[in-house]
Symmetry: D2
Amino acid sequence: MIIVFKSGAPDAEIQSLDQEMRDWGLTPEKIVGQHKVVIGLVGETAELDPDQIKDLNPWIESVLRVEKPYKRVSREYRHGEASRVEVPTPKGSVFFGEPDPIVLVAGPCSVENEEMIVETAQRVAAAGASFLRGGAYKPRTSPYAFQGHGESALGLLAAAREASGLGIITEVMDTADVEKVAEVADVLQIGARNMQNFPLLKAAGAQPKPVLLKRGLSATIDEWLMAAEYILAAGNSNVILCERGIRTFDRQHLRNTLDLAAVAVLRTLTHLPIMVDPSHGTGWARFVPALAKAAIAVGTDSLMIEVHPNPAKALSDGPQSLTPDQFDALTQELGVIGQAVGRWPQALAAATA
Amino acid sequence: MIIVFKSGAPDAEIQSLDQEMRDWGLTPEKIVGQHKVVIGLVGETAELDPDQIKDLNPWIESVLRVEKPYKRVSREYRHGEASRVEVPTPKGSVFFGEPDPIVLVAGPCSVENEEMIVETAQRVAAAGASFLRGGAYKPRTSPYAFQGHGESALGLLAAAREASGLGIITEVMDTADVEKVAEVADVLQIGARNMQNFPLLKAAGAQPKPVLLKRGLSATIDEWLMAAEYILAAGNSNVILCERGIRTFDRQHLRNTLDLAAVAVLRTLTHLPIMVDPSHGTGWARFVPALAKAAIAVGTDSLMIEVHPNPAKALSDGPQSLTPDQFDALTQELGVIGQAVGRWPQALAAATA
Amino acid sequence: MIIVFKSGAPDAEIQSLDQEMRDWGLTPEKIVGQHKVVIGLVGETAELDPDQIKDLNPWIESVLRVEKPYKRVSREYRHGEASRVEVPTPKGSVFFGEPDPIVLVAGPCSVENEEMIVETAQRVAAAGASFLRGGAYKPRTSPYAFQGHGESALGLLAAAREASGLGIITEVMDTADVEKVAEVADVLQIGARNMQNFPLLKAAGAQPKPVLLKRGLSATIDEWLMAAEYILAAGNSNVILCERGIRTFDRQHLRNTLDLAAVAVLRTLTHLPIMVDPSHGTGWARFVPALAKAAIAVGTDSLMIEVHPNPAKALSDGPQSLTPDQFDALTQELGVIGQAVGRWPQALAAATA
Amino acid sequence: MIIVFKSGAPDAEIQSLDQEMRDWGLTPEKIVGQHKVVIGLVGETAELDPDQIKDLNPWIESVLRVEKPYKRVSREYRHGEASRVEVPTPKGSVFFGEPDPIVLVAGPCSVENEEMIVETAQRVAAAGASFLRGGAYKPRTSPYAFQGHGESALGLLAAAREASGLGIITEVMDTADVEKVAEVADVLQIGARNMQNFPLLKAAGAQPKPVLLKRGLSATIDEWLMAAEYILAAGNSNVILCERGIRTFDRQHLRNTLDLAAVAVLRTLTHLPIMVDPSHGTGWARFVPALAKAAIAVGTDSLMIEVHPNPAKALSDGPQSLTPDQFDALTQELGVIGQAVGRWPQALAAATA
């Protein structure tokens, strides 16, 4: 249930209602939008009477039920307004969200050594990325495959952050590692295989860093939003959703089927910002540019692209990685579409011109 | 197997080799590309020796085997060059193919009556469409649902063609109707449910009109290309492939999952032109604009959009149909992306400016 | 809508009501069950008042609406009673249906020559099959693959029928061939790829031979039942449904995923008899026995098994074909389960003992 | 790579070779089969020469490479012999494996209170179950749904064990809970959503209790075996695989598609015992009996069935739960098939007769 205040409602009135709700045993959440303030209520609201609440205060514009199974992530919960996830980085805050420029995240599948991760960070930063991706802990199908360098790789990511000014996005797979990863990462990634690892979602919700939640391999959109709801319900509303391809019957030419329509659907269902990962989404570097362009056209807020200094020798995911030179060229290509839809970072647009 | 001639090879030399192949019992196909001429050979070529053929004529540049299960539709068969499907319409020839401007096809799911089909044709023509789509014969899940007006609707399509100057694309479902439909249609459509209706593919291959082949609901890309190969093998090389969404596990918010990566994959595998149908691909009018833009960005040669004068009263597929006004607005939006990728029709671009 | 008569309702009363319904412009269908007679009404029944109809005749027990989108195939349409499809064969009528013994259908994918088809027929007849399967017209993914011997193969099937006493089940793919195939076949097969070939369904419904309708590769159960409804709506109520595996994401070890739960679901939704094809359902001969046993345990009325005298040299589907010796051994194995569920043919049970 | 010893090879010879392999820096695993002893080697075996190893000892019969990506779980690793997982319970050891009688596991989705879990345990024990299932920690799609009573429920499971003599199978979702759960559980369950939770797999492999590994919602068979390999590679070879239905395009009548053919496939690929869960596999109590019978016919080693004293009031999964009376009746029905395939527990068979 949400309580929407009229424009210009005085803070004191909002506070007073907030307190009243607490007195009723509820846990109100205050959401400050561009034009209006909303108080969200989740929990035992079934027996509340919207009209009765409305009568409590003349500054209340309306009291509405959220009809979806997910509450806090629903677009209604912010009365239709998109949210903006702010992530501090060495170069200043970066914003993920509908009105903001598209955010580029790039980097290798896994952190292999200091030289490669620092070099990659510097190269992708120069090409326009705001974040470095890179795995310290890697979910691998085989126990005999490279599992990531773990804790030591976290240190290398910190070094790359220092050297490049990029924010760091890296995956956490185990509740036991959340604190450790959150010390280094600017954004915690929860991978596709852990989308319904509920203890991990709760732990990510209970720490302060923003969370990037990838869609499960065969997760429905509703399940994905419910997974995000776990994080918000645990207290962290800075969540970004990342479409990375779903599993279908044809895997001859593509590793996954990138579900770009999901971006358009999410826009209507949730206020959370959206990222698309065409590297995992296709599995092949040669298809990344076309799908990255399509992702921008369909309305994504962000792109995650795998870049490796030497894909042929990558310890994981080589076939889907671009070289830094290819990433350079790609950002030029993307700029054309990004500018056409009016969401290309000004700095990059200038570089293109 | 293909025989590639050097640039400037004299016609007489090519003819002489063509004759020699016929003397060997083969059925050569001459393919005239922009720069080179290729002779394609399909059939009992397993025992032919490429080197021996190469020695037959000094104008032969190379003799190559087509390693794919599909031959005539493969990109190799045209030595890497995209093909161009020319369709005569009352207003002149329209070309489908990689270098040409994006072709817009629009119209209702089914032809309901003369007034609605003529009005729709005129409206979509004015907005920039080159073709009218509209079903006379409708594949419907239920035997109790409207099955299309059949033969009488073909007459109405002819009237709409006359009134609007648009080419006509309409579906044929039965080998018994091919001749009748081909009399009116400028392009014969074979629908998703008939993608592997092999007698129908053969019949479509044996008549002269171009064929639009929709992807089956759960067809792999290779199966789709093999279905197209049936048409080419039967003698008709004017085939356009239409991606219209595949069936996946999540059908809560979308009728199908539009597989836009398939466009990028097809580009590498085949020389045939590609169309995308975001109306069937999503099933909801509200998602059509975003996916149509993405389809252009990913590289489609053509778009098929459902437009109905009154979607709420449509006899079929209302929820996924745009109104003519919405289609008008959509073409403006699409123009921005279409121009960014350099493939928007000049006439329309002028209108946008 | 169905009108259920009380037990013992006199024929004249039923006839009189039937006539009254015709006078109202409806097309009643009389269905004689084991205990009761039902009159089915499909069409413009939305405005009929069940109570008003009930008052027409004191022998009417109840008047019920069929709430499903499919009417004639629904279990309600026969007031919960399974139907029995009778097929005359040279050795007498064979019955497909819930209370009857399991019917075995066996034979090669395609009819290759007279010797192989006659020999196979005799071998599978000796092992307990009642029907020979064998394709004259073959749906093949590639236009360059063996397409079946067509009309001449129909003659060979007739010879095999003569020599073995088996009934014949063979596929028809084109409306133009229905009459020709129906002359030879005891049961017309409509294959998975044609499950939604609506003109073919209508044509099969308009001829007198029973029809075997295979499930489409990614058809939902409801779509499958609607496809069967086309046949019944066209006048032919002798339809058998055949589960043959659906397409899923894992095709490494199995060609399809045999959906045995569909058998249990169909039992609750429809009165039509059910067949399972573990040969196509798995794609590998080594998995056929286990799945054939499971199909009996889950409640199938019939099994279709591919048998070829020399699978290694089969022109199609060799890897999933049993040899006649393997089929012999299989029927022994199946007998154990068939007898446990009380549905094994007595003649075969005797042979096993 | 495996080293197969001849029948009757003296222990000392095997020990000596084991030591030699250790001296080479390898980690041999000794596997004692019914007739032969095998030494398994996983790791840096690529450069070992099988012939050279064979020459080391005259008691070696053969040295073979395991060609699959999974090693320890592969059937080859035990030279073709199925393994037997022994689980001590209050009433004595229960064995899961191909030659042993089918093991019945039954109980509610989640442990709700002491009375219900003890009563259910006693009822299912009386009907023939050897294990009680019941969730203390529940993976739920919604953060607002009942999440299980957690640690306190573990105590109730211990009480139910005491009262019924059944072994306990319960799920663990978080590495942080493994020790706690392993104190009470006789078998640790890893659920479908955690099949690729690699830290959890490693933790389960590092503790001594047997592990039940459910198949992921859209996991391929190879991925599932690789997940099991994680557990074996971490030191625990007592793993049981549980098929519980996969996600497909049709969810109208069934919650999942039970992939019974996977049982037959697993039998050829792995030595591990197999369980089938028709409750999750179908999602509806009314379909459980038919699919449970089919699972026995296809060759499962074990069945997991949800039973709740009052399904209509269950806190989770009510629609797929049988009542204790229905479970009683089901075991009678299953006995018929179980005896037909020669794998029904003698005690139960006596009860049936």
